[in-house]
């Protein structure tokens, strides 16, 4: 791998995660495991109404409850804590003011109304029930499509509920549709999903009045961006705020955000001069942590009779919720970018209407806009194949760009870096023996069995991204340092939270420096230690952050070479570096990298004009996104009697470019498929007609369980990218993107005897049974 290509002892190998021993023994430290002397606990009174006026709040009884230290309401802090920020800068975007505690009105169930601070978690929670709030319920807006047409307005100043209309795409779509032999159209709904990280959110804020320093431990994916935003919100200098993301038990995009609680607890700690802690309950997590997906629209595809695609149109409504969180309005724009899928589509247009509703905000959830695009395109491909009488595999193949057409320009304005879509699909087809499978399906169908085969080929946009395309920088940073004892410290600005970069970044550095893996320690997630970074999201940590590690290590080797030459009393160009050892011609003396590190710190024998120490920092700016791809095939059998779906086989061939650690890649694919399957079959956030959250617990919100998941048959193809020297593309979201349409396509294929064209997710047994039994 490495840019000097000398050593591949670790990279590419299934090195076990060095994070795991502490995590599986329960020795890791999440926010709640960090205890400070004298810490107080915060519990929130949250709105039970989706839309209501707050006529009055009486906190007298709660203040007198045992253990209560303080209570804060919206009016107590008005003007003293800034609003929850949004980073999305779309033309004409309407941005409602989003106070950290409700002021005058509440706009969704779960919105924080008051914060109780007490000496124990229980006292805080108990006191919440003593706060009396006079809510006056107002008209509720639940259905985004209806809300776009008119009716009650949520944010009065805006006049209507439309936050923005976003148009994307290139090419003459109308002409494409006018000249088409065949047009297929389908209304599709992407249900609301809850990201459900295993660890919910949690915040511990500690302000030291003497030093005027705030330390904020929080379960976040973006410690540095959060530091900047919280500092602005609470009016402290940014360099007096230290954000620490300790162990983070999953994020899936939900912790790529700036939340009201993070700023509010910081403010409370500044007021009380005490550490304050809040750990989100699962109910709070379901109602007041961002949701994902929630798009509903009509997708249309124009084709020639031979299957050649001429154009694609997507007219969609995005249910944004009541307020913008950090990236709320931006997520559907990613859908617009990926509507070309794996195909040559000369003309594409998307019109997306973002609509306010009385619900929690939607935002980035694993895939974030791209699963929506892939689902729309892959469903359309199956519907078109059916209507044209072409095998769905053939229709896909016919429209793939060939490997020599890369970089491939799409009608969404992107340049796909590299790809070989045929190879991934061929491999998946071979694994299932596709032709034979279709034969077996025929005989199964004849015997009355409902067997379906679903194919999905996907491409996604990863390694976010070039800074010009990002709201707050798309680069990533790394510092590599060799300590006097020869131990290697890597500090990455990416903030991994379960992805395993403590292992994979150590693999990269250990190979480049020729040191033992265990001598490399990767530090992340602490703004007090690590140089500014962007974070981990959008399958970017390895492609962007790993590349920064590579370049920082190269810089360090370059300096070490200079010192080595001096120690070897030869010229730099005579020095070679291999397996951690510098050798110098002509007499082949040797010095190790550890000896060089020590010499760099002792600094008594350095070349002239050389800085002591051995450390290098690099900020890597990618010149493009990366575009991983793959082919997923799912085989299902539907039970006629119950509508139950059984997944008989699941095959995934993913191409994420070069692989640093195949174990980590498999882990990402496994988890991704599980979450994609969850959307296809089980999960749905439901609000009733009053905007009441019906799925407020994990008893009501059906996350897949282990026994409901199939055995995964995985393989990879490897098409490197030239966007970064590692040749890696990213894999964090691939499984989620590829799996959902593969599963739905398989179920619809199984229901072909009933003439079913489409069923909206989640495909629960009852829904299937109703179709089968015509109920």
């Amino acid at each position: 791998m490495s840019s000097n290509g000398k050593n591949e002892k670790y990279v590419g190998r299934p090195v076990k995660r060095t994070e795991d021993p502490r995590l599986i023994q329960g020795l890791g430290h999440y926010v709640d495991d960090i205890r400070l002397a004298g810490e107080l606990y915060v519990a929130f009174l949250r709105s039970p109404y989706a839309h209501a006026r707050i006529n009055s709040i009486n906190t007298d009884a709660a203040r007198n409850a045992s253990g209560v230290v303080a209570i804060f309401t919206g009016s107590d802090i008005e003007g003293r804590v800034g609003n929850v920020p949004t980073a999305a800068a779309l033309e004409g975007l309407k941005v409602p003011k989003y106070p950290v505690l409700a002021l005058g009105k509440v706009f969704f169930v779960g919105q924080p109304v008051a914060a109780v601070v007490a000496t124990s978690r229980y006292a805080a929670r108990d006191a919440v029930d003593h706060i009396e709030v006079d809510f006056e319920p107002l008209d509720v807006v639940v259905d985004a499509e209806a809300a776009a047409q008119g009716g009650p307005v949520i944010h009065h100043d805006f006049g209507d509920n439309i936050a923005y209309v976003h148009r994307a795409g290139i090419g003459d779509v109308d002409a494409a549709f006018a000249s088409a032999d065949k047009i297929v159209a389908q209304k599709m709904h992407h249900q609301r999903l809850a990201p459900i990280s295993l660890e919910p959110r949690g915040v511990l804020a500690s302000f030291l009045p003497g030093e005027q320093q705030l330390t904020l431990w929080t379960s976040t994916q973006i410690p540095h961006l959060l530091r900047t935003q919280v500092a602005i919100m609470i009016g402290l200098p940014e360099n007096k705020v230290r954000v620490i993301a300790p162990e983070v038990g999953g994020g899936f995009g939900s912790k790529l955000n700036v939340y009201a609680e993070e700023a509010l607890l910081s403010f409370i700690s500044m007021q009380l001069h005490k550490p304050v802690k809040w750990i989100e309950t699962r109910r709070e997590n379901m109602s007041a942590t961002i949701h994902g997906r929630a798009q509903s629209g009509v997708a249309e595809l124009a084709l020639k009779n031979d299957g050649t695609i001429l154009g694609l149109r997507y007219t969609v409504t995005a249910d944004l919720g009541a307020y913008h969180q950090l990236l709320t309005p931006a997520i559907p724009t990613l859908t617009g970018l990926m509507l070309s899928g794996c195909y040559k589509i000369p003309a594409i247009s998307m019109v997306c209407t973002g609509v306010f509703t009385n619900k929690m905000a939607t935002d980035a959830y694993r895939g974030a806009g791209r699963p929506e695009a892939t689902y729309v395109v892959e469903r359309l491909m199956d519907i078109a194949a059916q209507e044209l009488g072409i095998d769905p595999v053939e229709l896909r193949r016919k429209n793939f760009p060939t490997p020599d057409e890369f970089p491939f320009a799409t009608a969404t304005g992107l340049f796909y870096d590299s790809g070989n879509y045929q190879a991934a699909l061929d491999r998946a087809l071979a694994m299932v023996d596709y032709d034979k499978l279709r034969e077996i399906q025929k005989s199964d169908t004849a015997a009355g069995r409902l067997v379906g085969i679903g194919v999905s080929t996907y491409v996604e946009i990863c390694a976010l991204g070039p800074s010009a395309a990002m709201p707050a920088g798309g680069w990533e940073s790394a510092t590599v340092r060799i300590e006097p004892t020869g131990k290697v410290t890597v500090m990455t600005g990416a903030s991994p939270h379960g992805q395993g970069q403590e292992t994979s970044f150590a693999q990269i550095t250990a190979d480049m420096l020729g040191v033992d893996l265990n001598d490399v320690y990767v530090i992340h997630g602490d703004t007090g230690i690590v140089q500014y970074g962007i974070g981990t999201f959008g399958s970017r940590a390895t492609a962007v952050g790993g590349t920064a590690v590579v370049y920082a290590t190269e810089k360090l080797i370059s300096k070490a070479t200079k010192i080595a030459a001096h120690l070897l009393t030869t010229d730099e160009e005579n020095v070679t570096f291999e397996n951690g050892v510098f050798s110098g011609a002509p007499d082949d003396k040797q010095v190790t990298i550890q000896q060089v590190a020590l010499a760099a710190h002792l600094a008594s024998n350095l070349p002239p004009d050389t800085e002591p120490g051995l450390s290098a920092t690099y900020f890597f700016e990618p010149k493009n996104f990366t575009f991983p791809f793959g082919a997923h095939i799912c085989i299902v059998e539907v039970d006629r009697d119950t509508g139950d779906i059984r997944i008989k086989r699941y095959v995934a061939v993913d191409d994420c470019g070069k692989v640093i650690n195949p174990l980590l890649v498999e882990g990402q694919v496994h988890g991704g498929i599980a979450q994609g399957l969850g959307q296809a079959l089980f999960e749905e956030v439901v609000y009733d007609e009053n905007g009441q959250l019906i799925t407020g617990t994990l008893m009501d919100y059906a996350v897949p369980k282990a026994h409901q998941l199939p055995r995964y048959e995985l393989d990879r193809t490897e098409t490197p990218t030239d966007v970064n020297p590692l040749g890696v593309k990213g894999v964090g979201e691939a499984g989620t993107i590829g799996s959902t349409p593969a599963i739905v396509n398989a179920v619809i294929d199984a229901l072909r005897p009933f003439g079913v064209k489409h069923i909206d997710m989640p495909l629960r047994p009852e829904k299937i049974w109703r179709v089968i039994s015509n109920q």
């Binding site: 229980y122 119950t642 617990t697 009501d700 059906a702 026994h707 047994p765 109703r770």
Partner: protein
């Protein structure tokens, strides 16, 4: 209004001590076993109790005894222990099958058979199996020990025959014969907003070509787990046939009262209940 602080939790060390505490506090005390239901109710603010009696340390309530004619399963035996028990696998495999579908591993490690019975949910996965096996529930109080049939234990939606001072100490399962067919079926995922779930515990013995014994117990289709007595009556003593099966399925209309607040959902459950019975009879006859 719930209260989380200043609750009193007693941890008795013997069954007798637990019974004494129950006698003292009566209905104001809440028994706590694995906590998999209690903690959910507490979190939801749906349970107020001043006093909790934590049974978890009572090892005498744990374990599976392989007796000559029955299995005696202690009330605190967890579903993990049940699904790993060779005796359960041999004499009541359907109970092991049910245990496997209850929650995830963490829930199976904490959830107890006694807790599942006492919680009296119509959707409880273990109850249809206990019902089709004609289990007895053993109860203790300072007054006496007694045994109550599972069929008379659940008296209504989340109601039981437990007196205020009584606790469950064990469940007794008569051993089934090896030529009996016992199955556990579960369709549907959690509540997921519509209660589209049906559970069937079914048991049948055929001798000399006729149905000598039949037990059909459904969960999630009525306020309690119910025995399909009308369907059983049609099958009992008859030569099985597809025609007989259809009559039994039709008779389920008299046996089951699926919840009717969501009509289509009720229709689905009624239909699936029938389909599961058909499947059971079909499979049983193949063997």
């Amino acid at each position: 209004m719930i209260r989380l602080q200043h609750n009193v939790v007693h941890r008795p060390r013997t069954i007798d001590d637990a019974c004494t505490l129950l006698a003292e506090y009566g209905p104001s005390a809440q028994l706590l076993a694995g906590g998999t239901d209690i903690m959910v109710l507490l979190n939801a603010g749906l349970l107020q109790a001043d006093v909790f009696i934590d049974l978890w340390p009572l090892d005498e309530l744990r374990g599976i005894d392989d007796l000559p004619d029955s299995l005696r399963i202690g009330a605190l035996t967890t579903f993990s222990q049940i699904l790993r028990s060779p005796a359960v696998e041999r004499f009541a495999p359907a109970l092991a099958a049910a245990a496997r579908t209850i929650g995830a591993a963490q829930i199976q490690n904490r959830g107890t058979i006694g807790g599942n019975i006492a919680n009296a949910s119509p959707a409880a996965d273990s109850l249809p199996v206990l019902s089709c096996l004609d289990a007895d529930i053993e109860l203790a109080s300072v007054r006496s020990r007694r045994r109550v049939s599972i069929h008379s234990f659940h008296t209504g939606y989340r109601k039981t025959a437990l007196a205020a001072d009584e606790m469950i100490v064990a469940v007794h399962l008569p051993k089934t014969r090896t030529d009996e067919r016992i199955e556990f079926y579960k369709v549907g995922t959690r509540r997921a907003q519509a209660i589209s779930k049906v559970v069937l515990g079914a048991r049948m013995q055929i001798a000399g070509g006729i149905v000598e014994h039949i037990a059909l117990a459904y969960g999630s289709v009525a306020p309690t787990v119910v025995r399909a007595r009308a369907a059983e009556a049609i099958l009992l003593g008859q030569y099985p046939s597809p025609e007989l099966a259809s009559r039994a399925v039709a008779a389920l209309d008299r046996d089951l009262k699926p919840i009717t607040d969501l009509r289509s959902s009720a229709a689905y459950r009624r239909r699936v209940a029938g389909n599961l019975l058909e499947r059971f009879l079909r499979k049983a006859l193949q063997h």
